[in-house]
């Protein structure tokens, strides 16, 4: 039997809950994806606005499954548009080294005796889909199934994607000069 339609007040309350539950994840994803706080804020805002428009339907169709992959998918598509727009209307040079390096102090990087620095360097060299899967796994703690739903791939393909990303990073770390180890 179909559930009775929710009132606007109920929907708004549910949406507020959705925001509280996923704002941090969305922000982490956005920040590592677009590379600066300003664009990350915009991306998260646009994601939630878009989600609000289709929230009732998403609740109905999710059938009780978590909505995090759906939110990330919205953010992923919006970020793709952002990059398309930026490639046509560049403002300044995008500082792509900042998002990863900025979250770690120089001291921390020195202490880690460049293994961390090398991983950061390696992450920057990864293809977008591999990097994205790693963000979801390590910043958001998502499992393969959730990542697969967010990326619109099969569970198997996602497992392979993450495995290859990690292998690639292992290669980058191993290739570093011996003096750095």
């Amino acid at each position: 039997m179909a559930e009775p339609a929710k009132t606007k007040a109920q929907l708004d309350a549910d949406f507020a809950e959705l925001y509280s539950a996923h704002a941090r994840d969305l922000y982490s994803y956005a920040y590592y994806k677009v590379g600066n706080h300003h664009d990350a804020e915009d991306l998260v805002e646009q994601t939630f606005l878009q989600a609000y428009r289709h929230f009732e339907r998403a609740l109905r169709e999710s059938d009780g499954r978590p909505l995090r992959p759906w939110l990330l998918r919205i953010a992923h598509n919006l970020a793709a548009n952002h990059y398309r727009y930026r490639s046509k209307h560049p403002l300044t040079t995008l500082d792509d080294s900042s998002p990863l390096a900025a979250t770690h102090s120089t001291e921390e990087l020195v202490q880690g005796r460049d293994e961390l620095a090398r991983v950061i360097e390696g992450v920057k060299q990864l293809p977008d889909d591999r990097r994205e899967a790693l963000i979801m796994r390590f910043a958001l703690g998502m499992d393969n199934r959730e990542i697969a739903r967010a990326l619109g791939r099969s569970d198997g393909a996602t497992k392979v994607l993450i495995h290859r990303a990690i292998k690639q990073l292992e290669g980058v770390v191993a290739l570093a000069p011996a003096s750095h180890r």
Binding site: R24, Y32, E45, L49, L116, I166, E170
Partner: protein
């Protein structure tokens, strides 16, 4: 964690590289304000749309019919009321004459 059973030595480093980031405190307020302004815009748009729709003569039929039906119902009620009050008066008069 990579799904191979054994954890790669890179994985703890990745957990540090991708440390979760707290959103700025003002973001929730900003999103809420945007949602409220969008709801308000939608309501205004709907009001405007209803008014604009009334300018189209094709949309006059339904209100005209409603007016006609309402008028007919009102007239019917009026007649019924009059009829009933006349009957009550007549009943009273005939009861008086009987006595």
């Amino acid at each position: 964690m990579s799904g191979e059973g054994e954890q790669s030595h890179v994985e703890p480093l990745l957990a540090r590289v991708f440390a979760p980031i707290e959103p700025p405190a003002g973001l929730a307020t900003r999103v809420e304000a945007r949602l409220q302004s969008i709801s308000q815009l939608a309501a205004d748009e709907l009001d405007g749309w209803e008014l604009a729709a009334m300018r189209d003569p094709r949309n006059w039929l339904r209100p005209a019919l409603a007016l006609l039906c309402g008028g007919a119902a009102g007239a019917g009620l009026l007649l019924l009321g009059r009829h009933q009050s006349r009957r009550t008066r007549n009943d009273g008069e005939s009861a008086g004459a009987d006595r």
